[in-house]
């Protein structure tokens, strides 16, 4: 197997009112990593460290085999970075920006840029300040995608996009990983986008990584069991129990370590299993964040 695109371990960064602690991230070639967290969780800070734009206080960061922040100049040539606060020149046209990026990056693919203009329904002569929010996001993505960088670091690429623009952007991201040597890390608080296109998912909250695994494993191991508990009986201990809510004879158990054996354990304890539900990534994310916050506060 080829070396990972991103390998970060025990990364720490302390600010006056915020602290990133013990952050570990890994992205293999050919994969998409969804980096999910509430606002202010540390997603943007982490991405800036991966870009060499912010220097970590402690911990090791390797991106595309380069050590950061020391080798950031070499790494940046092969990284495409897009963030919400990226500044384009409002008075200049998209054409001007395309020429500018093409002059800096030898990998610029003019044919692909042309294809993207068509797919995103953008025009070379458009001035940046005349673009809508969605068009501006697509223009920024175009400028990065047409360089064909091996690694894309995208900070909230789909935030604020309408459903059609979101569809266009996700389609382009999926097109990138048709090439097994390339990969994408994208941060989002939109769990629907992450659930759709990510191979790996990492949750971050309050500066700490709270969970990380491949998407299918995530969706498989989290379940909600709806149980009927006859009077005088109690719910047996089930592995990975995150939360148990009971009202009357109905109990709902949320577990992060589901196995079919759990249903048998409930039946043996005299309970009736009414239903075992899969959870959406959104439900998993919220349950996960809440339980970690409770744990830390205790």
């Amino acid at each position: 197997m080829s070396e990972p695109l991103i390998e970060a371990e025990a990364v720490e960064k302390t600010y006056r009112f915020f602290r990133l602690s013990d952050v570990a991230l890994r992205l293999e070639a050919g994969q998409i990593l969804g980096f999910v967290g509430p606002n202010g969780a540390g997603k943007s800070t982490t991405i800036r460290i991966l870009m060499g734009m912010v220097r970590q206080d402690r911990g090791s960061v390797r991106v595309l085999g380069r050590v950061l922040p020391q080798d950031q100049a070499a790494a940046k040539r092969e990284i495409g970075f897009v963030s919400e606060d990226m500044q384009l020149h409002g008075a200049a046209t998209l054409e001007w920006h395309m020429r500018f990026v093409a002059a800096i990056y030898p990998g610029w693919d003019a044919d692909y840029a042309q294809t993207l203009l068509r797919r995103f329904n953008l025009h070379r002569e458009q001035r940046i300040k005349a673009l809508s929010h969605g068009e501006r996001v697509k223009a920024t993505l175009l400028l990065v995608l047409a360089r064909r960088p091996r690694l894309l670091l995208l900070d909230e690429p789909t935030t604020g996009l309408d459903p059609v623009a979101r569809h266009e952007v996700l389609a382009e991201l999926m097109d990138v990983v048709r090439d097994e040597r390339r990969g994408i890390l994208f941060s989002s608080h939109n769990t629907q986008d992450v659930e759709q296109i990510s191979d790996q998912i990492t949750f971050i909250d309050r500066g700490r990584i709270i969970d990380s695994s491949d998407k299918e494993a995530f969706l498989d191991r989290w379940r909600r069991l709806n149980l009927e508990v006859p009077a005088g009986l109690t719910v047996p201990h089930l592995p990975g129990t995150i939360e148990t809510t009971a009202s009357g004879r109905i109990a709902v158990v949320t577990t992060s370590a589901y196995t079919p054996g759990m249903e048998e354990a409930c039946v043996r304890a005299g309970l009736t299993v009414r239903d075992v539900q899969r959870m959406t990534l959104e439900e998993i994310f919220v349950a996960n964040v809440m339980s970690h916050r409770q744990e830390r506060e205790q």
């Binding site: 994969q31 998409i32 569809h167 990983v177 296109i197 990510s198 191979d199 998407k215 299918e216």
Partner: protein, 116 residues
């Protein structure tokens, strides 16, 4: 999500769009086409392989299995799923096997009546 992909592939095979021996798109190509992660499509292919619906030859790709009555098998598998679901609901309602069979017989009788 992988279940939806399995369902779509099964349907294409069942209606004959993808005949026996047909080469399926590569995992990455299908993932890009349906805009669903590679890992999800990979899982769907593995599952279909386990069921014997498709065969994967190392380095050559995945193909629809060369089984003549495949679409019949698929439909029967679908029926089994419905029956398993009925059995589950029956046990929640506290029905015995006999009661459940009676219900099925009643459903068959109702169907025959409609057809005649």
């Amino acid at each position: 999500m992988y279940l939806q992909i399995i369902e779509q592939i099964r349907r294409r095979i069942a209606v004959g769009d993808w005949p026996p021996g047909y080469e399926l798109p590569s995992i990455r190509a299908l993932a890009a086409a349906v805009q669903v992660s590679v890992i999800t499509v990979k899982r769907a292919y593995l599952e279909l392989e386990r069921e014997g619906v498709i065969v994967t030859r190392q380095g050559k790709g995945s193909f629809v299995a060369e089984s003549a009555n495949l679409s019949t098998q698929l439909r029967q598998a679908e029926l089994d799923e419905h029956l398993a679901a009925a059995a589950r609901v029956g046990s929640v309602l506290g029905m015995s096997a006999g009661e459940l069979s009676d219900r099925l017989r009643a459903a068959i009788a109702a169907r025959d009546e409609k057809q005649s």
